[in-house]
Subunit: 121 residues, 2 copies
């Protein structure tokens, strides 16, 4: 692989809620995704999910704990089984660290389920 | 867990080459580490290792490919089995994403092997 420049990666696509594969590490992946607005409530039965905000602000909404506001340079791990809804009032650039095969909508499924596509695809 | 602010994390310790555990995701970890100078040549037999530079410049030196210079906001995955040596001419702040139990010196071992310690420890 070549190195990945995160700013260039985010500049290479516009679509929101469509994660791009930036790198694989064993069976894990670094995915880059642009978020705009509210997602769907869901959880992942068997896997944790890390959100790192690289530009903007992201609310992680929860039902079993206080919501978390992530600003640029902040990260949070949503534990397996925890119902959550990402909510980005303005466009937010996020790096996800999670199993490569984790599906974005998790338990919810539905029309907002997105294929993971290559960064340059 | 609470959210982690990367700038605050790096401000919380000074020691170089001593990774701190910032977050766990399944059996993976986000580790934050300050690098100054050259490390030891080593490889990891069975695991990939991701370097993300959050402040500074990092050379990844290789024997089987061209060296890679990572600047702020750039990442690279060193594949399993690939001999490498991190080299930071000036202090560099790095996020590592790798299996939680990966040992920093890998195949080399020796005096620069560091325990992974909690971020606030």
């Amino acid at each position: 692989m070549s190195k990945v420049n995160l700013a260039a990666a985010f500049a290479s696509f516009e679509e929101a809620w469509a994660p791009r594969l930036a790198a694989r590490i064993d069976d894990f992946a670094v995915k880059v995704v642009k978020l705009r607005g509210e997602f769907v409530w869901h959880h992942h039965d068997d896997n944790d999910e890390l959100f790192l905000v690289v530009d903007g602000q992201l609310w992680l909404r929860f039902k079993d704990r206080d919501d978390v506001l992530l600003e640029t340079g902040e990260l949070y791990v949503v534990p397996r089984g925890v119902e959550h809804m990402p909510d980005a009032p303005e466009e937010c650039h996020v790096v996800l660290l999670e199993r490569a095969d984790l599906v974005n909508t998790g338990s919810a499924g539905g029309e907002r389920t997105a294929e993971l596509t290559p960064l340059d695809g």
